[in-house]
Symmetry: C2
Subunit: 133 residues, 2 copies
DNA sequence: CTACAACCTCTAGCCACTAGAGGTTCAAGA
DNA sequence: TCTTGAACCTCTAGTGGCTAGAGGTTGTAG
């Protein structure tokens, strides 16, 4: 039961088949053992690792951060301050992105509200794009 | 005076030199006329177009949307409803991204707050990544 | 006239995949 | 046991919007 095909592993973990192969290719997953016919087979450890990666991706961590997180979690005796640090760093990044998008949204709303639906030659949107705000 | 080198055009418009070349390559800018020595020369129309593109990029429009906006603004007699539509569509997209990031941020904050800075084996962050929330 | 900054083209790389070609293997049903 | 065909394999190229670098040429200030 513990030796799944790549398709079965994909179903179990909600990670797509080509993505699993990609993760192996870039060394995020160890190369899976193959059958005589060269097909990959996955055990429980692989599923655990894949699930870890997917959860972390869902939270927006990039693959380098995930590499670090995996390395940290492989050392149970270590302090988890490093993991905490990575998470907080990520929060800061997300806050920046949110702030940026919120500002953008406000500008766009102003622009759209000024558009009188008239002719292109009077359009506030196009005018602003052409000559600045 | 109206024939600028690519570097001068870049300074005028705050668009980097390789980016200008890239825009020409993908047809977002018309191919600039060249000197005998094959160097690009830019006139006022090009600067206007580049400024338009940069302003739109700053507002987060992708290059396809910018293509549409440029096409619309080239027809002064047309209604600007299309431009308005593109802008509103973009706002909707941005709202989605903001909502996604805000939800993500909340999850991450919860996770980080649970981390007691103890050992990796007890870490809430790593635990959640491994086995889900 | 010389020096050198700025220009040229072309290719490859970034991130995290996704798509497709062209071929092989596995497993369920007859 | 055989046959199908879904699922697998490797490899390459493409996505967006640039950025970096190699290796060579041109324009211009002194």
């Amino acid at each position: 039961m513990s030796e799944l095909s790549i398709g079965a592993a994909a179903r179990e973990t909600n990670v797509k088949v080509p993505t699993i192969r990609y993760y192996e290719h870039i060394g995020l997953l160890p190369a899976a053992p193959r059958t005589e016919g060269k097909q990959r087979r996955y055990g429980l450890d692989d599923l655990t690792r894949l699930n870890f990666i997917r959860h972390a991706r869902d939270l927006g961590f990039d693959l380098d951060a995930i590499r670090e997180l995996l390395a940290i979690s492989a050392q149970p005796d270590r302090s988890c301050a490093d993991a905490d640090h990575i998470a907080r760093r990520h929060i800061v990044e997300i806050d920046k992105r949110i702030a940026h998008l919120v500002a953008l949204r406000a500008d766009l709303q102003t622009l759209a509200d000024q558009c009188g639906q008239g002719q292109v030659s009077d359009c506030a949107i196009l005018e602003t794009l052409a000559h600045g705000s």
